[in-house]
């Protein structure tokens, strides 16, 4: 599971690199389809403000 920090700016860069297209970006929300997530962490890596945090 990924925790979305309060400082996420909903820019959508994470969604752009997700190889499985699992991130739906709303104006002030992100919805992850975690069921199909392969935990590649690319979304976490590219975030310009490191707003995504992996939670076990």
């Amino acid at each position: 599971m990924k925790k979305i920090s309060e400082w996420c700016m909903y820019c959508g860069e994470c969604a752009g690199v997700c190889p499985r297209s699992l991130i739906e970006v709303h104006e002030t929300d992100l919805i992850f389809n975690e069921e199909n997530c392969k935990d590649c962490k690319l979304c976490i890596q590219v975030c310009p403000v490191h707003a995504l945090i992996k939670e076990e």
């Binding site: 700016m9 820019c11 959508g12 860069e13 969604a15 752009g16 690199v17 997700c18 190889p19 297209s21 739906e24 970006v25 709303h26 104006e27 690319l42 890596q45 590219v46 975030c47 310009p48 403000v49 490191h50």
Partner: protein
Amino acid sequence: MKLIETDVLVIGAGPAGSSAAKHAARGGADVLMIDRKSEIGSPKRCAEGVSKEGLKKLGIEPSPRWIAKELSNVRLVAPDGTDVKLNEETVKLPEAGYILERKVFDKHMAMDAAREGAKIMVKTLAKDLKREDDSLVVTAERMGETFQIKAKIVIGADGPESRIGRFAGLKTAAKPKNMESAAQFEMGGVELEDPNSLEFYFGSVAPGGYAWIFPKGEDIANVGLGVLATETDKSAYQHLMEFVENCPATRNAQAVELNVGGDPVGGMNKKLVTDNLLVVGDAAGHVNPLTGGGINTALEAGLYAGEVAAAAVKEGDFSKKRLEEYQKLCEENIGKSFDKYLKAKEYLLSLSDEELDEVAKAFQNVKLDNINTKELIKLLVKVSPKALVKLGKIF
């Protein structure tokens, strides 16, 4: 569920979408454009530099409402502070000309589309897309209401997220090594050496990219940088904080806005069309791989997309084969020029801070008005034989 029918559905109302909607409507098609934002153009994800020539070529009349500043100089700064100054007379600069007020510009472009007859829905998110007979049906959500939009042609202009193309099977996802992570402050109190100069800072200030200062006024500027997440463990924001603290121009400046976002710099996508669908703008990789600039190309590609879509609607043929005319137009007019920018970028990013300093120093002593490619290469050889080896691989 409510169903809306249209000839052309444009998803995303950035420069790419608005241009596509305008030209599709002008060509006689019924056009609907949707954007998930409550305010088109905001928040901006952009340093707002645009080519004057490029706008003129597309017949876009400049308006004082959305031009923050006109400028014609460029200052390239090496890691040790050595700088090279260029101006429009000596070199052709791809993104120089105007600094926009994009929050106004993007709205203006959308209104232009509306004037041609396009309908617009804001705060409307496209969630899904499926094929039905010879059309596409998009599930959309607006203010708590879910409904469907059936279109003969969908134009995916959804920016760096590029999910619309993927819904239809195109490979539009960017690899992290091709996606700049960018962060920027709009600042006041910037101590600019020359308020008429775009400034670019190279080297380890921005691993995998560069830092910029684009003036919007005498002491106002967009100060930002792009990095590749594959080249650094710090976030773009952390790099930006360090840059602002260390750069003489921004040490005493104050931020009034923070912008972040992705910029796909891997070059144009191989496939831009499939049956009933085209992608345009950032979603199609229509971004100059060297500068990261994508406004002009988004507008230009939008024009091709809109015209081809309108013609296809008239002919009643929405097949991939018919839409490939758009692909060809993009390859000829946009993709080709990107190849050389991609090579120049690879070269630039291959240089160490020391090599960049040496290159900048060598440029101090030449008159730039009469330098040609051969002399340029000779100069680079003199500076650093190592740099030559890298250059040899590229040219």
